[in-house]
C-alpha cells in the first residue's frame, strides 16, 4: 500500500510526534542545566567538584568561590542512612506480604504502603520538623552522644535538625518504592523453587532466605537502587529537617551535625541568586550533578528490574 494522507497516517504521525515529549523535556533539561552551569565550571573547574568553600558575596578578604563537595557528600550520606534503615524494613514488608500475610491482612498492609507513598513530601518535612526531630533528640541523639560521644560520627551537640533526621525521613520515604518493587520481584519467583526447597525439609525462613531472596537478588538490588534514586532526588522533606549549613561546616562528618544535600541547597538558596550571576550558575551546576547522578542511578535500576520481571511480562513502576 502506498503511503498517503489518510486519517490513519495522520493519527499515527501525531501520536509518534507527541511520544517525543518525554525525550524532548529531558533534552531541554540537560541542555539548560549544562549551559547554565558553564560559567561556574569554566571559572572554577575541578574545584567545583572537590572544593568545600561556598561564598557568593565577594569581599576583600573572602573572594567569591564555589565548591560543591559538602553537598554531594550530604546527599550520599543521607541516602546511605536511608538505605541502611529503609531497605531491611522494606524487604521485611515485601516478605510479609508475599510469603506470610493471611488474605485478610494483605489488603490493609498494601494500603499502608500506598498511603506512605501518597503523603506529600512537604508533609513529611513538616512532621520531621515538629515531631520526629524531638523523638530522635530525646530517644536517640542525647543518649548516644552522652555515652558514645567520643566516636566522631556521634560528635557534636544534638539538636534534632541534622544528618540523622534527614536520613530517617528519607528511609521512611523510600519504603513504598523499595517494598512494592521487591514484592513484585518476590512474587515473580516461580513456585516450583519454593516447593523444591520445602521438599528437602527447609523451614519457611530458610526457603525465603536461601532460595527466594537469592533467586530474586538482581531484581531486589534493582529495587534498592530505585530507592536510592528516590532518596537522592528528594528535596522538600530533607530541606526542612537537615539544618541547612553552607561551606565546609556542611561536610557530614557526624550524624548529629546540621548539613546540606544538593537538592536542599538549591531549594534554600536558588531564589536569592540574581539571574546572570555566577551564584545562580553555581546552583544550576549543583542541579546538573544531581541530574547526572539520579539519571545514572535510575538507568541502572531500570535495567536490573526489567531484566528480572521480563519473565513475568509485567510492566514495572
Amino acid at each position: 500500500m502506498s503511503p498517503r494522507l489518510s486519517g490513519d497516517n495522520l493519527f499515527k504521525t501525531l501520536t509518534a510526534l507527541l511520544a517525543v515529549s518525554a525525550a524532548f523535556i529531558l533534552m531541554i533539561t540537560a541542555y539548560e542545566l549544562f549551559v547554565g552551569s558553564l560559567p561556574v565550571l569554566q571559572k572554577f573547574g575541578i574545584y567545583f567538584f572537590t572544593g568545600t568553600k561556598w561564598n557568593p558575596v565577594q569581599t576583600i578578604v573572602n573572594p567569591e568561590i564555589y565548591g560543591a563537595l559538602p553537598y554531594l557528600l550530604g546527599t550520599l550520606v543521607t541516602s546511605a542512612i536511608a538505605l541502611l534503615i529503609g531497605v531491611p524494613l522494606s524487604l521485611g514488608i515485601a516478605i510479609f506480604l508475599v510469603e506470610m500475610a493471611p488474605r485478610t491482612l494483605r489488603v490493609p498492609v498494601s494500603y499502608l504502603v500506598d498511603m506512605l507513598a501518597a503523603v506529600p513530601s512537604v508533609i513529611y518535612g513538616l512532621w520531621g520538623y515538629f515531631v520526629l526531630r524531638f523523638w530522635l533528640l530525646d530517644y536517640v541523639e542525647i543518649p548516644l552522644s552522652r555515652y558514645l560521644g567520643w566516636i566522631p560520627i556521634f560528635g557534636g551537640t544534638p539538636q534534632g535538625l541534622d544528618v540523622l533526621n534527614g536520613g530517617v525521613i528519607l528511609a521512611i520515604m523510600i519504603i513504598p518504592t523499595v517494598s512494592s518493587i521487591s514484592r513484585e520481584v518476590i512474587q515473580a519467583v516461580p513456585n516450583s523453587i519454593r516447593e523444591g526447597a520445602y521438599s528437602i525439609g527447609a523451614t519457611k525462613w530458610e526457603v525465603i532466605r536461601n532460595w527466594v531472596l537469592s533467586y530474586g537478588r538482581s531484581g531486589i538490588f534493582g529495587a534498592v537502587i530505585l530507592g536510592l534514586g528516590r532518596a537522592v532526588g528528594e528535596t522538600m522533606a530533607v530541606t526542612m529537617v537537615i539544618g541547612n549549613t553552607i561551606g565546609p561546616s556542611a561536610i557530614p562528618n557526624s550524624l548529629f551535625k546540621p548539613s546540606q544535600t544538593m537538592a536542599s541547597l538549591i531549594a534554600n538558596n536558588f531564589l536569592e541568586a540574581t539571574p546572570g550571576t555566577l551564584e545562580l550558575s553555581a546552583y544550576i551546576g549543583v542541579g546538573l550533578f544531581l541530574l547526572l547522578l539520579s539519571l545514572s542511578i535510575n538507568v541502572i535500576a531500570q535495567v536490573m528490574v526489567t531484566r528480572v520481571l521480563k519473565v513475568k511480562g509485567g510492566a514495572v513502576e
Binding site: 533539561t29 539520579s294 510492566a315
Partner: protein, 284 residues
C-alpha cells in the same frame, strides 16, 4: 548441621521480624495522620478556607484561601497540558510501539519516559525557571503548570500504555473487521474500553503533583494574594505549608498544620478515587 529446634526458633524469629517491619513502617504513617488531624482540624473554618493570610507576626494568621485556589488552578492547568500529551504518547507506545518499523523508536521513547520519572523535581524547577520564567521575565502560574506537567506527562503516558495493553486484541480485531479504520478503532473502541485505567492514571498524576513543592519555589514563588493574572506570582498549598512552618509564630505554625490537613485530604481522596476506579475494573 544445626539442630532442628534452633532452625525452628530462627524461623519464628525472622517471620516475627518481618511482621515487626510492617509495624515499624506503620508508626510514622499513623503519627503523621494523627498529628495532622489533631493540629490541623481545630484550624478549619470557613474563614480559614476562604480568606487571605494575615500580616506575618500579627495575632491574626488569616486563612489559606489563596493557597487552595492556587493549588486548584495548578491542578487544572497541569491536566490541560499533560493529559493530551501523556495520553497520546501512551497511545503511540501501546498501539504502534510493537510493529517492526516503530518498535525501536518506541523502545527509546519508553526509556526516555522512564528516565524522566527519575529526574528530581527540583531539577525540573531549574529547567522551567530557565526556559519559562526567565523568558517571560516574571514568575507565573503558567510556569508552575509547565513544571508540574513535566512531572505528570511520564506518569500519564505510562499508565495509558499499560491500560491500553490490557485491552484484548480481539476487541481491536472485531472493530477492524467491521471496516472501522485503525485510528477510529483506537479512539472509539480501545480508549473507552480502557477508560478506568486512564482515569486511574490521571488521578495518580494529579495526586502526585498536588503535593509537589520544590519546582513551585522557583516558578510561582508563592505570596499572600488570590490569583492576580498569569504575570504574577501565585500561592499554593505546599508552598504555604513550607513557608508557615518556619515562621517563629505559633499561630502561623498552626496554619501550616491546617493547610497540611487540607492538602492531605485532597491527596488521599484522589487516591481513594484510584482505589474505587481500579476495584471496579477488577470486579468487571
Amino acid at each position: 548441621m544445626t539442630s532442628y529446634a534452633y532452625r525452628k526458633f530462627k524461623n519464628i524469629l525472622f517471620l516475627a521480624l518481618s511482621l515487626g517491619c510492617v509495624i515499624i513502617a506503620a508508626v510514622p504513617l499513623l503519627s503523621i495522620l494523627i498529628e495532622v488531624i489533631l493540629k490541623g482540624a481545630p484550624e478549619l473554618s470557613i474563614k480559614f478556607l476562604t480568606q487571605t493570610g494575615g500580616v506575618i507576626g500579627s495575632s491574626d494568621a488569616g486563612g489559606i484561601g489563596p493557597a487552595i485556589q492556587g493549588t486548584l488552578i495548578l491542578i487544572g492547568l497541569t491536566c490541560l497540558i499533560s493529559m493530551p500529551l501523556g495520553v497520546m504518547s501512551g497511545i503511540f507506545l501501546a498501539e504502534h510501539g510493537n510493529n517492526e518499523y516503530a518498535g525501536a523508536y518506541a523502545a527509546w521513547m519508553r526509556i526516555f519516559n522512564n528516565a524522566l520519572t527519575g529526574v528530581p523535581s527540583i531539577v525540573i524547577g531549574i529547567t522551567v525557571f530557565a526556559v519559562v520564567v526567565l523568558t517571560l521575565g516574571h514568575y507565573s502560574p503558567l510556569a508552575g503548570a509547565v513544571a508540574l506537567s513535566f512531572i505528570a506527562i511520564p506518569i500519564v503516558a505510562r499508565t495509558t500504555e499499560e491500560s491500553l495493553k490490557l485491552v484484548p486484541n480481539s476487541v481491536r480485531e472485531a472493530s477492524l473487521a467491521l471496516g472501522v479504520r485503525n485510528w477510529r478503532t483506537t479512539v472509539s473502541v480501545v480508549l473507552p474500553d480502557a477508560r478506568k485505567g486512564l482515569v486511574t492514571g490521571a488521578l495518580l498524576a494529579t495526586a502526585r503533583i498536588a503535593g509537589e513543592t520544590a519546582p513551585l519555589l522557583m516558578t510561582i514563588l508563592g505570596g499572600q494574594y488570590f490569583f492576580q493574572g498569569f504575570g504574577q506570582p501565585m500561592d499554593a498549598l505546599p508552598l504555604r505549608i513550607y513557608r508557615d512552618a518556619f515562621l517563629p509564630y505559633s499561630n502561623f505554625q498552626a496554619q501550616a498544620w491546617g493547610a497540611a490537613l487540607v492538602l492531605i485530604l485532597i491527596v488521599l481522596s484522589l487516591n481513594i478515587g484510584v482505589r474505587a476506579a481500579t476495584s471496579g475494573r477488577l470486579a468487571k
